[in-house]
Symmetry: C2
Subunit: 324 residues, 2 copies
C-alpha cells in the first residue's frame, strides 16, 4: 500500500477519511480485514478501467469513481456476496488537478455510504498515459453458499434483473451517435454512468439460483459463460427482455437497434438460473430486495445461447460487446 500522493500531497488527506476499520487510517503498508463469523468467507474480485476505453475522459469524476466501485460490487453480487470494502489504485495524469481528485473522492464517499463499504488501501501513481484505475472489491458470503456460473441445469428458468440495453443506448447518446428526447437522454446517460449493482438481490438468491453472472459484456455473451460452464444450452426470447420506458421509446424510432438489449454491454444486471420449482421463492426474493426480476427463457440440453424472436432463431454476427 502506498498512499502518499506524489505531486498531490493532499491525496492522503482526501483518501484517509475513507479508510475502513482495519485500514489504520491508511498509515501502514497493508490493512487487516475484519474477523468473520464461523462459516463466512472473504470473496474478492478486481476490475480495471481506462479513460477512452471504459469511460469517457469527459465523464464527471464522481461518476467515474462510482462506476469503478459499482462494476466491482456487481461482480460480488453475482457471487451472492455482501460488499464490505475495497482497495483502489489510481494513475493520475499531468492534467489531474486537486479539484478533479476531490470530486472523484466525493463520488467514492457517497457510494461508500450507499453500499456500506470502506477503503482498505491502495496506491496512487502518475502516468503519462490516460487516466487508469483498478479496484479490488472485498465481500463476504457463507463459504458453502456462493453463487457460481456452473450450476445451471437443462430446464432451469433464466431470469434477468432490471432492464437491458439502457447503458448501451446511453453511451450512444453521450457520444452524439443517437438523438433522443431530453428526458430519455438523461435517464439513459445516467444508466451508463451509474450502474445499479444488485447487491441486495445477489445475496438473496443464495440457495435459490442454480447459477448467476453479472451482465457486463452483453446478455448473450455473459449468459454464454453460464451455459458453457454448466455444460448446457440456453434459449432467450427477444420480446420477453425487460426494457425501460426510455429504451422502448428509442427502439420505436430506431428499429435498427432492436437487438441491442441482447448484446449491448455495461448493463450490470444479474442474469441467473433457477429450477422452475423455485419460481415463488425467486419472486419473493426479488420483492424482498426491491429488485425487478424478469423471466426471459430457459436452459436447454443443447449448447450455446440461442436468441429467439417470435419463436424463431435469430442469427447474430457478434454476440459480444466491444468497448468503444
Amino acid at each position: 500500500m502506498t498512499i502518499d500522493g506524489g505531486e498531490f500531497g493532499v491525496i492522503s488527506d482526501l483518501l484517509a477519511p475513507l479508510a475502513a476499520d482495519g485500514a489504520f487510517a491508511l498509515t501502514d503498508d497493508a490493512a487487516l480485514l475484519p474477523e468473520l463469523p464461523p462459516g463466512q468467507g472473504w470473496v474478492v474480485t478486481k476490475d480495471a478501467m481506462v479513460a477512452g476505453v471504459h469511460f469517457l475522459p469527459s465523464d464527471p469524476p464522481d461518476m467515474i469513481a462510482r462506476k469503478l466501485l459499482r462494476v466491482n460490487l456487481s461482480d460480488l453480487a453475482a457471487m451472492g456476496a455482501v460488499p464490505r470494502g475495497y482497495l483502489l489504485a489510481t494513475a493520475w495524469t499531468a492534467e489531474t488537478d486537486r479539484d478533479w481528485i476531490s470530486r472523484f473522492v466525493d463520488g467514492l464517499a457517497r457510494d461508500q455510504a450507499r453500499f456500506s463499504v470502506g477503503l482498505f488501501g491502495g496506491d496512487t501513481v502518475s502516468t503519462p498515459g490516460p487516466l487508469t484505475f483498478s479496484l479490488t472489491a472485498l465481500g463476504t458470503a457463507a463459504r458453502d453458499g456462493l453463487l457460481r456460473r456452473n450450476g445451471a441445469l437443462a430446464g432451469d428458468d433464466i431470469y434477468v434483473s432490471g432492464t437491458l440495453g439502457d447503458s448501451a443506448l446511453g453511451l450512444r447518446v453521450l457520444r452524439d451517435d443517437l438523438e433522443v428526447e431530453p428526458e430519455h437522454a438523461t435517464f439513459l446517460s445516467q444508466r451508463y454512468h451509474l450502474p445499479q449493482p444488485r447487491t441486495t438481490l445477489g445475496p438473496a438468491l443464495v440457495g435459490l439460483a442454480s447459477a448467476a453472472q453479472d451482465v457486463s459484456d452483453g446478455l448473450l455473451a455473459d449468459l454464454g459463460h453460464v451455459a458453457r460452464q454448466s455444460g448446457v444450452g440456453a434459449e432467450v426470447h427477444l420480446e420477453l427482455l425487460p426494457l425501460s420506458v426510455a429504451a422502448r421509446e428509442v427502439l420505436i424510432d430506431h428499429p435498427d437497434l432492436a437487438l441491442l438489449p441482447l448484446h449491448g454491454g455495461d448493463d450490470y444486471e444479474l442474469v441467473f438460473t433457477a429450477s422452475p420449482g423455485r419460481r415463488d421463492s425467486i419472486r419473493a426474493a426479488a420483492d424482498a430486495s426491491q429488485t425487478p426480476v424478469t423471466r426471459i427463457g430457459r436452459m436447454t440440453g443443447g449448447a450455446g445461447v440461442q436468441a429467439l424472436a417470435a419463436g424463431r432463431p435469430l442469427t447474430l454476427k457478434d454476440n459480444g460487446w466491444k468497448h468503444f
Copy 2:
C-alpha cells in the same frame, strides 16, 4: 473479475494455470479466499506500476511481473504477514503480443512457486497508454501480531535488512548514467529488476520489532514514516549502512554518490525498530530466516530523521526518492 483476454484469446489459457484454490480456475466473477485458523486474519495491500515511471519499457517481461509481485509481497512482509495470493490487473498496449504476455506469465509462475502464492483473479484490459499493472497481495497473520509503523519508542534500536543503494545504482547503470565493472553491473541491475522481499524475516519479527516498514522510497523517507507515526525521532549513521561489495566498489570511484544508500529507492528491504533488550532475539530471527540484518542507529526523543556522518549531522536537500 474479468479474465477473458479481449484481443488475446490466449490469456485465459495462460493465466488459468496460475489460479489458486478458491479461484475456480478463474471461471467466475470472484474468488473465495481460504478459511483461516482462529485468530488469523487476512492482510491486504495494493501497488501499481506504470511503464516509464516504475519500470523501464525495455525491462524483460518476466522481470516486470516478478517485481510487480515482489514489491507487494514486501508490503506484506513489513506487516509481518505471510504471503498467500494475489489479484492482478493488466493493461496491455497494442504492441503487447502473445510472446510478451507469455514471458510475463512465466515470471509470475516462477515467483508463485518461489513464494507459495496463487492467483485469485483480476482483469485484463487494453490501453492506448503505457503498459500499466496493479496487483493486490493477500497475506495472513495473527490478528494480534501485526507489525505496525507506530510502535517505535525513543531508545529503540534501528535495523535494516540486506543492503541499501544497490537498486538505485542499478537503475543508473541500466540508464547508462553510470559505468561500472561488468560483474557489478549485472549484480546491481539484478537488484533493480528483482527485489528480494523479506517474506521470511517479516513474520519472524512479530513480537520482537516495535515498528516496521519496507524501504521503497529510500531509507530516510521510509524511516521518516515510522518516526512520524510513532511520535519520536530517529538517528542513523551513514558509515553503518550495509553496502554490497558492488556498491562499495562503485562508491570508491564515485564519491558524489556516497549518500545514495540514504535516499536511493526501490531497496525493498525492511527497516524496523526494537528495544535494545531484544538484540539477541533479533539476531536469532535474522539467522533463522537467513536474512542479513544490520543495526544502523536508534530512535530518539526528538522528531524527524537525522543522518549522521562521523557523528556529525548531515543536511540533505531531498530526503525523498523521485522515480525517474
